[in-house]
Amino acid sequence: MAKKVFAVGALFNSPDAIIAAAKKTNAEGFKKWDVNTPYPVHGMDSAMGMKPSMLGFVTMICGLSGTALALLLMWWTMSVEYPMVIGGKPFFSLPAFIPVTFEVTVILATVSTVVAMFAFFFGLPRNSHPLHDTDYMKKVSRDHFGIIIEAEDPKFDENSVLQFLKGLNPVSTEIIYESEKETYPIFEPRFILFLIGTAVVVSIGTYFTLNKLMYTVPFDWMDNQEKIIPQSVNTFFADSRGMQLPVEGTVARGFIPYPFKGETEPAELLENPYLPAKENLILGQKKFLTYCSPCHGNFGDGDSRLRGQFPNPPTIHSNRARDFSDGKIYHIITNGQNVMPSYDAQVTREERWAIINYIRALQRAKNAKVTDLAEIKSETEQNAGN
């Protein structure tokens, strides 16, 4: 069976010779041809008459997508969906986002460049190439400079191309044939063993890095910092506390102490300074659902979500609870009652009053009567009349 010709190749000795040969081949009007050199030869692009690569556009488009994606993600997560105050900065603070934007831009640009290079420009995935395992390939990867003209070229004719290449004064010429049957070098046992070996080495390396190395000095310096953390012993102060109490006789900024702290039956109660306006009720609802509802239930029925891990509180719709004054409820939230702890630290003063207004609204709604309708109707009419 006659072998199918893949290409005709010629080998040269010096970069100057290969540049001259490439220029002549280009001038001859060949289309499907290539140059193989052991290292990049300066000036080859123009000698081969190659157009600027389109790879730059792939890089640019993917890089810009990275910029847009990173900014969108941070805008959505940090300032719309789950806004968090960090360092007192605005929710959308561009300076803090720029490093991440930069990183995402660079990583998308580079990874897409490599993938695009493999997929579109190198013609991967492919099993093998006819040039592999030829004498030509061995020489051009060592100390020769080669040029091949492929059989797919419209002007290809084995003899005339051979004559043309010989006219360029090469060291030698070679006819390269297509391989007779498809080979699958990636399924060779040696290659598969190599892959398995690499995977094992990388896994062991990763395991020891993450489980052992990171806990040995000096690699644990990020984890084990020389600083006082809460609950740890402090040798600087005489009382050895990591967390210091405020200096005696001082209060933190914005903090107003509650005068009846610790008393079960205070002699005097505070008045609710807030009207149940819409914003106040919305705030109260939000805080009630966050801090109160886990035990008291979403509507205050005492249907705890804690599945018996903690005793259920009584309903807030009982007559006793409805008769509590605002100040009494405020006292319970601030001071705690029975098994309920103090919510002093979690809920601010304004939020406590807002919760009370919301509780009042819940109590009113639960105990609504038919006669209420007539009352509301007359009230509305009165308002309309005014």
């Binding site: 692009d45 730059g56 360092g87 300076p95």
Partner: protein, 396 residues
């Protein structure tokens, strides 16, 4: 066949160039003297901007020469003389610093003894920021630069005649010593001339910030001169657009580097939010200074970044000429932005005065004259350099 002999015929630069240089310098000096008489405080603030700009061109060029030697670059050899001519600014820095020292009292708040006496912070900095040590430091800096300028260019000139390859090896060693010396001296000069204008403020990155601008200014000056000389046939005919591409690529790299450093400085101060650091940036956001601050990002980063992004732009002589002039202006603008908001009378916003325009005119005239003077004496191509042939054969 490639030619073995380098053919180069020395030509003098046109006489009109020195005429332009003299006129610009005369105008600059005359108006400069008047401006010192009219408003010596504002004039000295402008003077330090111009002085830092000349350091950028001169010392930045010297750094480019040293860089060529230590990395053993070929492509820049044919245009090394252009860089050397710009580095010839260095000896004159010793004379130009005298008006600065005479007007220190107008410029540096820390020279006022009565304010230092009431200011704990300035008292703490007094061991460094005092007049005697400042003058010693300034002359030590110029001395170092002058020494390395003298050594490097002397060997380069000698090589034109005796074609001794050993001189290149010698220069590589000198350059390797110069690079760390440069790193320290350029940082010290940034701290002394630019940062100490506001002595309460501190930024540990200011040295790198000034360095990034310095290299941009030097590269832009070299690019501009190379393109102009090449267009008029004063350089070797084998210098191609591929050489320009290398200059354009370096410019692009340093525009990015400047953006990176400038943003690093800003972000760290913004994030930590310490009043003793942020006031400096807040000062630059006062009134019309805000326009300058935004303008700096646009002029110094966004516009040159977009202009230099594509490969053809880095090779096109016409575009490169424009970008080089633009970046020289950008660096001057950067220095102006660093120093001028600290001028006491302009703390609320920028107020225009003709004094701001005077010193750059003189500086341009001065640079043209220095360049012309050196070009008369020396070859525009280092014909004795052993790497010249490889440099001329450089292709992408």
């Amino acid at each position: 066949m490639p030619e073995t002999e380098i053919k180069y015929q020395k030509k003098d630069l046109p006489a009109s160039l020195s005429k332009i240089g003299y006129i610009l310098l005369a105008v600059g000096v005359l108006l400069g003297v008047i401006s010192f008489l009219v408003d010596s405080s504002r004039a000295s603030f402008n003077y330090v901007v111009m002085y830092a700009f000349l350091i950028s061109i001169g010392v930045g060029s010297l750094f480019l020469i040293a860089l060529e030697y230590v990395v053993n670059a070929d492509w820049s050899v044919p245009i090394r003389r252009v860089v050397e001519f710009f580095a010839a600014t260095i000896p004159f820095l010793a004379i130009l610093v005298i008006p600065l020292i005479l007007n220190m009292h107008d410029l540096f708040h820390w020279t006022h003894e009565e304010s230092v006496a009431q200011d704990k912070i300035l008292q703490g900095k007094a061991p460094y920021l005092n007049v005697t040590f400042f003058i010693i430091r300034v002359f030590a800096l110029i001395g170092f630069w002058w020494l390395f300028y003298y050594l490097l260019t002397k060997n380069s000139r000698k090589q034109d005649e005796n074609k001794d390859q050993g001189l290149t090896r010698k220069n590589i060693k000198i350059s390797a010593v110069f690079i760390p010396v440069f790193a320290i001296t350029i940082s010290v000069s940034a701290i002394d001339l630019l940062m100490s204008v506001e002595p309460h403020w501190f930024s540990t990155i200011i040295g790198v910030y000034f360095f990034s601008g310095t290299v941009i200014a030097a590269l832009a000056a070299v690019t501009l001169a190379t393109v102009l000389l090449k267009e008029h046939g004063y350089l070797h005919s084998k210098i191609t657009n591929d050489h320009l591409y290398s200059l354009g690529g370096l410019l692009f790299a340093f525009v990015n580097f400047w953006g990176y450093i400038a943003f690093s400085q800003y972000m760290l101060i913004w994030y930590a939010d310490l009043p003793e650091e942020t006031f400096w940036f807040l000062q630059k956001w006062e009134g019309s200074w805000a326009i300058f601050s935004i303008g700096l990002i646009v002029i110094h980063f966004l516009v040159p970044y977009i202009l230099l992004l594509s490969q053809p732009a880095k090779m096109d002589p016409k575009k490169l000429k424009f970008i080089a002039v633009w970046l020289l202006f950008a660096h001057l603008f950067d220095l102006f932005w660093l120093v001028m908001p600290e001028f006491p009378a302009m703390s609320g916003g920028y107020v225009f005065s003709w004094i701001d325009l005077v010193f750059p005119i003189g500086a341009v005239g001065f640079l043209i004259l220095i360049f012309n003077m050196k070009a008369k004496k020396e070859n525009l191509v280092p014909i004795g350099d052993p790497k010249l042939k490889r440099g001329l054969d450089f292709h992408l």
